[in-house]
Symmetry: C2
Subunit: 208 residues, 2 copies
């Protein structure tokens, strides 16, 4: 397998973290997204919307969308239950993540770390309100549950963790949300024994 990826992407990080848990070997293919490498005709054949990560599962067979890749890799493992309701609860948080977490927290973080806040000033209030709504939902749910779905670590936690644990980079307040903080510690504890390339390494993911 090959993972077309961009190392500072937290969407890529999700996939790398799960690959680490599963100990699945996977060739990394770096894609320079800010130099247009994900919008070439050749890359659009892999993913018609021109975004990373993309997993090539066999020569010429591609899966795009980070959370779709997580589902594919996790099938049949402890990270995605097969019981219908338990599975649905994992899926709920995966869709929540792509709708509420990444576009708000991820985008605000990117603008903050790369000095783009002022250029996007008209969008900030809306993005900030969305991010606060997402964090409020997480705090509400994690106040009653150790993990997002079925009280067990799953790809739901991996996906939501990717951007939300870095919310402070976007000057969003995690300190007033203690349940999220405790959950972040629990998620980090799942990955401390992974090889360094997959483990939680703040330095490697602190830019964009």
């Amino acid at each position: 397998m090959k993972l077309y990826d961009y190392l500072p992407s937290q969407n890529g990080f999700k996939v790398r973290l799960l690959l680490g848990h599963l100990q699945v070997p996977c060739e990394q293919v770096p894609v320079a997204i800010f130099q247009g490498e994900s919008r070439t005709a050749a890359f659009l054949e892999k993913n018609p919307v021109g975004a990373i990560p993309v997993l090539e599962v066999e020569p010429g067979a591609y899966i795009a969308e980070s959370n779709a890749i997580l589902c594919y890799l996790a099938e049949g493992t402890q990270y995605l239950p097969s019981e219908p309701l338990a599975r649905a609860r994992v899926m709920q948080w995966l869709f929540f993540e792509q709708y509420y977490v990444e576009p708000a927290i991820g985008t605000l973080r990117f603008w903050t770390l790369t000095g783009r806040l002022q250029a996007n000033e008209p969008l900030l209030a809306g993005k900030r309100a969305s991010a606060e709504r997402a964090l409020d939902a997480l705090e509400r749910h994690l106040g009653q549950h150790a993990f997002l779905a079925n009280d067990r670590y799953s790809i739901a936690d991996i996906a939501v963790f990717a951007y939300s644990h870095l919310a402070a980079d976007a000057e969003l307040d995690l300190r007033s949300r203690p349940a999220i903080g405790r959950w972040i510690d629990r998620v980090k504890a799942q990955s401390v024994q992974l090889p360094a390339v997959y483990a939680y390494t703040p330095d490697a993911i602190a830019t964009a």
Copy 2:
């Protein structure tokens, strides 16, 4: 089962359409989202982010996020294949929909139909660019495929159809994208024999 729903929502429509295909009986519970009924303490117990649709699969057991509900209902049916790569291709388009289609096309359509364009003027260029990117990706893919995944009608088509077939309501150009137009006709042809409550009824979904 009960579906907490708001009739003009295309996210709700997706679920209703699949229920129609499956001929699964389901009680409809209307939620007046613009009167705050999805943000009450009682509703936040059903979905911590306070949005519809929500499916109550047994008393007290809730699934939120329209596409997670589609996955749950479609499991074991022709609308969601079990073969891993075929399934991954369906999942890819479900995540694509919630990231690229609904927030751009759905939001622009809502603002257009409800007279909110001017109030959101600073956001329009970004939303329009996102919508064009989504439609370009769909045109590119549907130029080579009859349906979004595995050349077979699935919940991927149901989800993406919900907002994208109404793109013209948001003054987005479908006429210059003939592959999308032909796919819309194919998707509509799947549902013409459904009971009226589930069938494609433009009048019923033309507001918001």
